[in-house]
């Protein structure tokens, strides 16, 4: 017990006891001159010693090899200090050091602290300087193996893909991550990013890629119905085709079959069908077809909202009831407008944020 400080930081020699630092006058922290300190941390002697020397070198902007060692220790004590990381970078640049060893250095820290903003940001800086991102996929894969939803790792991987155009094999990576956990929303988001970056979707055409993404997603939904991530992805893919959410016959049939033949009432299925009805109405109400479809769609919308509110998503009961009412109002208003101004152009539909309240 008496040696506990030695146990915590093995073989650590204080900077004040190191001959190579003899010429530096350590500078104490000007914390508080009040008798009672504020959010005071009881620093260890080693922490205080290290930062006393860091304050001293920062004052004179010293960029030397010994400062690199000092920043290494300072980072060990507090890896969240962005100033130290910045100072380390400036020192490396001033000394014209090879930045490559920093890759191994940051990798070690990232794998120990995969949610540290500063080290990911520093790594990005190094990789950008080196213009070499060949190790980054492996590193992010390692971090994701520990925590498959680590926001930092996905965020960084997306930045790397975009900056270095490294899309090859990434759809397969997304597929593998989704295979490992079909509920992994981060992986679905990544898939959306990759698909959109590697394909051109134009003029609302349902391309082969869109068709195959639809099949892929429907397969995942079939295997696990109650999965918000997959249903959202489906919406994202359908947004690329004309007709949007209700623009794919394949998807419409899929939902129809689930609902009517299989009696499925998954809340994501119901809300998907609900939005289809709404979209359907938006598209058709000014056409001849709209004459008949209006009342039909309204009845359907009310039915779906009621099912959600009373049985399949009672947590959001008031929300579904509210939607039902506001759709009703909107449809009645639209019908009126259609009868009053049969030939007028569509008005701007982007302004009615407050109509729901």
């Amino acid at each position: 017990m008496a040696d506990s400080s030695d146990d915590e930081v093995p073989k650590h020699v204080l900077f004040k006891d190191r001959p190579e630092w003899k010429d530096i006058e350590p500078l104490g922290e000007y914390d508080s001159d009040e008798e009672q300190p504020v959010v005071n941390i009881e620093y260890s002697a080693e922490f205080k010693d290290c930062y006393d020397y860091f304050r001293a070198v920062a004052q004179k902007r010293e960029y030397t090899q010994r400062v690199l060692d000092l920043t290494d220790t300072a980072i060990k004590f507090n890896p969240a200090n962005y100033t130290i990381w910045g100072y380390r970078f400036d020192t490396l640049k001033a000394l014209e050091k090879d930045l490559r060893p920093e890759l191994e250095y940051t990798k070690r820290i990232i794998l120990k602290q995969p949610k540290n903003y500063q080290v990911w940001n520093y790594r990005n800086l190094i990789v950008t300087e080196l213009q070499d991102a060949s190790n980054e996929k492996e590193l992010t894969a390692l971090a994701l193996a520990e925590d498959s939803k680590n926001y930092h790792a996905w965020d960084y991987r997306i930045s790397i893909l975009r900056d270095f155009k490294m899309y090859d094999g990434e759809l397969e990576f997304a597929t593998q991550m989704i295979e490992d956990d079909v509920r992994n929303n981060s992986a679905w988001n990544y898939r959306d990013f990759v698909i959109h970056r590697t394909n051109n979707f134009w003029d609302g055409v349902e391309t082969d890629v869109i068709k195959s993404e639809i099949e892929y997603t429907l397969d995942k939904i079939t295997k696990l119905m109650d999965n918000e991530s997959a249903w959202s992805y489906l919406r994202g893919i359908l947004a690329n085709i004309s007709g949007g959410i209700c623009g794919s016959k394949r998807v419409n049939d899929f939902c129809h079959n689930l609902y009517y033949n299989k009696g499925n009432r998954c809340r994501f299925l119901l809300s998907f069908m609900l939005d289809c009805c709404f979209r359907d109405h938006e598209v058709t109400y000014r056409t001849k077809e709209g004459d008949e479809r209006g009342p039909q769609l309204l009845a359907r919308i009310k039915e779906l909202c009621l099912e959600l509110a009373t049985e399949h998503d009672v947590t959001r009961k008031q929300y579904w009831m509210h939607l039902s009412k506001s759709f009703e109002k909107m449809i009645i208003k639209a019908e009126l407008e259609r009868q009053l101004y049969p030939s007028s152009e569509d008005e701007d539909s982007t302004c009615s944020c407050s109509t729901e309240d």
Binding site: N40, E42, R55, Y82, C353, E356
Partner: protein, 347 residues
């Protein structure tokens, strides 16, 4: 005994917990908080404010804390690094805290410090409003996002919120190109309706709050199209699991802090009312530690951040006798009212 959860708010214990961080010594194993002491300070005083306890801090003590905060202020008209630092780490006794190299304001710390000052009753008279706003211009990037400090930090939605909140507090929007800021926010809306830390990133309730609050504070909520608005409401409402509480992303477990991030976002979009009667304070109350403070999850160890957001989340639920929140600024209505009175004086 220890395994029987108690579903009442342990007010006294939380007050003690926050005061321990504020006034007592923080153990050395938390030295990795050293560069963000002003944020810890904010969580402490803001938590006490939700509990209605700031009035009880002695005037003399308030002054000590206020003086400490002002020591963090940087005014640098040349390098455009004005703002507040995260802590006194770089201040030296020898130079009596004079600002030297690498001592830059950081927008998240500027935000935390300004709100802490307001909570403690300071009138911001010693804040160099003009220079802070002027320096903010150097933090906005081409894409409209903000970085935290002039060098060495990432840029994302968190700092967009901080910049908007600082502009709102100082009642001066000249530091922000609002058009670009709004575009960054709109570009960060994901296919699922939520908002990520930047474009193409996964939707997240933390970044969604930051984005919506920035729009609300700058009077730009109307930039959301009808569909964007409705999709956001739906996505946010789906973050509630009646048994578990609020989560921050689809298919993730609930976490105490999202009772605020998600709840406040819903408040901003006037949609909290749809789940009000179903929101259950149980999950948040279960994350209370037996010695005070809240944890992320049940039995996972408390920290000041989750303690503050747990209290703020409970306040949104209108849980017994907590000061009411003003969601977009992440402070109590009491503090917001004080701020509005100051604005009237400045004009």
């Amino acid at each position: 005994m220890a395994n029987i959860p108690e579903f009442i708010l342990k007010r006294e214990l939380h007050k003690k917990y926050l005061n321990r961080f504020l006034n007592g010594g923080i153990p050395s194993f938390l030295s990795n908080m050293d560069s963000n002491r002003s944020v810890i300070l904010f969580f402490c005083v803001a938590g006490l404010d939700v509990l209605g306890e700031t009035e009880k801090i002695l005037r003399h003590r308030k002054e000590q804390i206020i003086n400490w905060i002002y020591k963090l202020q940087v005014v640098n008209t040349e390098e455009l690094t004005s703002g507040f630092q995260g802590s006194t780490t770089l201040l030296t006794k020898k130079f009596k805290g004079a600002i030297g190299p690498y001592q830059w304001g950081h927008i998240a710390n500027t935000y935390s410090c300004l709100l802490s000052l307001l909570i403690l009753g300071d009138n911001l008279t010693r804040v160099n409003r003009k220079e802070i706003i002027n320096s903010m211009k150097s933090l906005q990037l081409e894409d409209g996002s903000f970085k935290g400090a002039i060098k060495g930090t990432e840029n994302d939605m968190r700092f967009v919120f901080c910049a908007a909140a600082v502009s709102y507090i100082l009642n001066d929007w000249n530091g922000i190109d609002i058009e670009r800021m709004c575009n960054f926010i709109l570009n960060s809306i994901s296919y699922d309706g939520g908002i990520g830390q930047r474009p193409n990133r996964e939707s997240h309730c933390g970044s969604t709050f930051c984005a919506l609050a920035a729009l609300a504070l700058s009077n730009n909520l109307h930039r959301l199209s009808r569909d964007q608005y409705n999709n956001l409401r739906r996505w946010l409402l789906n973050r509630l699991d009646i048994v578990e509480g609020f989560n921050g992303r689809p298919n993730k477990p609930a976490d105490t802090c999202y009772s605020f991030w998600t709840g406040a976002s819903l408040k901003i979009l006037h949609a909290y009312k749809y789940i009000k009667s179903d929101v259950n304070p149980m999950f948040v109350l279960m994350t209370q530690d037996k010695y005070g403070g809240f944890s992320k999850w049940v039995n996972s160890g408390p920290d000041p951040m989750h303690t503050y957001f747990g209290l703020a989340g409970l306040s949104l639920m209108k849980y017994e006798n907590l000061n009411e929140m003003y969601p977009p600024l992440n402070c109590t209505k009491r503090v917001h009212k004080r701020l509005k009175a100051l604005h009237a004086q400045w004009n």
